[in-house]
């Protein structure tokens, strides 16, 4: 399996504090990689460095073998890299459908054609499919701000899949989502991973969710990689138990 994403020696310093201190790993085509670690260990900072939201202090990010370090988030998104956020990041005043249409529109045609050409038709169709897939039908025309927390989390994930991304970085998708909805979410993620051959990296604190969803798990502590391997290997690793899982 070839690597979709190669991260080598990424560093990020904030003033004198090293948030990420030289992290390297590969993400293989089609896998679901879990990323776990204590709060403040640099997981989200690492995400932001990979996605161009932060400029890394050092190191390199490669997408399909091409260096993409320093590209802006919008440019990376057009190359097929998408994300969800730890905190709710939907557009509260737009309806659920409008949120999804917005999430897909920049992947069609040029900026000029989006003003003149009205390439909305296919988008509305795609948004409706996504709404059906995430079982948000009854909420399609509601403003996103009126949805419950869990529903907004689902919408946030759905938005990340609108442009047909190859690689999706999910930052705590399960946080604050109730158990029955969580099972739904997992089922959806697995389906998209298999059917669309989308590769995922998932930050999550819910161990059961991570261990059952992911093919490999990477553990971070204090800005460094502590362990990487299959879920059962990681679970038994003494260093991981010491730093994160507890006894």
């Amino acid at each position: 399996m070839s690597a979709v994403l190669e991260v080598s020696d990424i560093k990020k310093n904030f003033g004198g504090i090293s948030a990420v201190g030289g992290v390297s790993f590969d993400v293989r085509e089609g896998e679901i990689l879990g990323l776990i670690g204590p709060n403040g260990c640099g997981k989200s900072t690492l995400f932001n460095c990979i996605l161009g939201q932060l400029t890394p202090s050092g190191g390199e990010v490669k997408l399909d073998g091409k260096v993409v370090t320093g590209l802006r988030p919008a440019e990376l998104n057009k190359l097929g890299v998408s994300r969800t956020f730890q905190l709710l990041q939907v557009f509260p005043k737009l309806s659920v459908r409008e949120n999804l249409i917005l999430a897909g529109q920049e992947h069609q045609g040029s900026m000029a054609s989006r003003l003149v050409g009205r390439s909305d038709a296919g988008l509305t169709e795609a948004a409706n499919q996504m709404i059906g897939f995430f079982k948000l039908d009854h909420l399609a025309d509601e403003p996103a701000g009126g949805l419950s927390y869990g529903q907004q989390k689902l919408l946030d994930a759905a938005m990340a899949f609108m442009g047909g991304p190859r690689l999706v970085l999910l930052d705590e998708p399960a946080g604050g989502v109730n158990p029955s909805m969580l099972a739904d979410l997992k089922e959806r993620l697995v389906a998209i991973n298999r059917e669309k051959n989308a590769t995922f990296v998932v930050i999550e604190h819910n161990m059961e969710f991570v261990m059952s969803l992911c093919s490999r798990v990477m553990v971070m502590a204090e800005g460094k990689v502590l362990a990487m391997g299959r879920p059962d290997e990681v679970r038994k690793n003494p260093a991981v138990i010491e730093a994160y899982l507890g006894h």
């Binding site: 919008a74 998408s82 557009f91």
Partner: protein, 332 residues
């Protein structure tokens, strides 16, 4: 305002348009001047509504763009160019200057951005006043001709009012198209959450610059109509207070609502006239009315209507739910 039935909205719109065409036929010279001014200011406010209301970028420079448009039109038409040519140049120039003014918005936001645009506004005023070789300085430019449209002279107030109204209609249609296009959605995304917008592939830099450029271009259009309307311009009307007036029109009408600028311009231009009978008190009453409105409804006049319609929808929805629930219970 999706709460009203579509035929009702269309009927209401047609009545308003018919009234705007028919009623002023009996107006005197002054009444027509005020109404023409309303149409011109509504165009400028619509531009600012795009920049501020939809894309969320604060600008205190819209008055400066009205000035740029007015001087372009005044200089060109007094040198024998037709007004449509002047409008095209005014659009081009204010679009370009607006684009450049958008660059600071890529680095600073909110009140910092307000200050940058305020500084630009002052700069533009100083150019209008001091560069007398071009602008006539404090003496301004007089005898600005009114155009012939399709061979019809518009010297008289009524025909020129129709020129202003027609321009307002064209600009309204263009803005309506723009905000319903993916661009409009991208502008709103810029306003509500630029971080999320970026991660969805929205090129926030380009859309920010576009929001400034297009909004400023509409300011230029308004200016290019203002010059032949007053037939005399000097720097004073284009100082900072015009920018503040336009900002107030957008906020009072309802920022981010399509119809906000029409209403805001109406209040800013017409209300002082209606309050004229109070003589010395009209500005005070006006100020108090604006303060009261913004305390009551920070989202402007259309915000009140929007809230009312949203409440009505919620009530209707919960009534439906209650009916459905009771049916379910009777079945069981």
């Amino acid at each position: 305002m999706s709460g009203f039935a579509k035929p009702l909205k269309i009927a209401f719109g047609l009545i308003v348009i018919a009234a705007l065409i028919a009623v002023p036929m009996n107006f005197n010279r002054y009444g027509l001047f005020i109404l023409s001014q309303w149409a011109v200011m509504a165009i400028a406010a619509m531009g600012l509504n795009l920049t501020l209301g939809y894309a969320g970028q604060v600008s205190l420079a819209q008055g400066a763009f009205v000035g740029i448009g007015a001087y372009v039109a005044a200089i060109m038409t007094t040198h024998g160019w037709p007004l449509p040519a002047a409008i095209v140049v005014a659009i081009g120039l204010s679009f370009a200057v607006g684009w450049v003014l958008g660059y600071p918005a890529l680095r600073v936001q909110h009140h910092y951005l307000a200050f940058v645009t305020l500084a630009f506004s002052t700069l533009a005023f100083l150019v209008f006043r001091n560069e007398s070789w071009l602008t006539g300085g404090i003496y301004g430019i007089s005898n600005i001709p009114r155009p012939h449209i399709f061979g019809i002279a518009t010297n008289k107030p009524l025909p020129f009012y129709y020129v202003c109204l027609g321009s307002l209609a064209i600009v309204s249609l263009a803005v309506w198209w723009l905000i319903r296009s993916p661009w409009g959605r991208a502008f709103m995304a810029l306003r509500e959450n630029p971080l999320r917008a970026q991660s969805l592939g929205v090129d926030t830099r380009r859309y920010t610059l576009m929001a400034f450029a297009i909004g400023s271009a509409l300011g230029g259009v308004a200016g290019a109509l203002y010059a032949p309307l007053t037939q005399y311009i000097d720097p004073v009307p284009f100082n900072l207070s015009l920018s503040l007036d336009l900002l107030m029109m957008v906020i009072v009408g309802g920022a981010g609502f399509f119809l906000g600028p029409f209403l805001g311009a109406m209040i800013a231009v017409l209300l002082p006239e209606w309050l004229r009978f109070t003589e010395g008190y009209y500005l005070m009453l006006y100020a108090i009315a604006v303060m009261g409105l913004l305390i009551w409804s920070p989202t402007g006049i259309l915000g009140i209507l929007d809230r009312y319609l949203a409440e009505r929808r919620t009530k209707a929805a919960s009534a439906q739910r209650a009916v459905a629930k009771s049916r379910l219970e009777t079945v069981q």
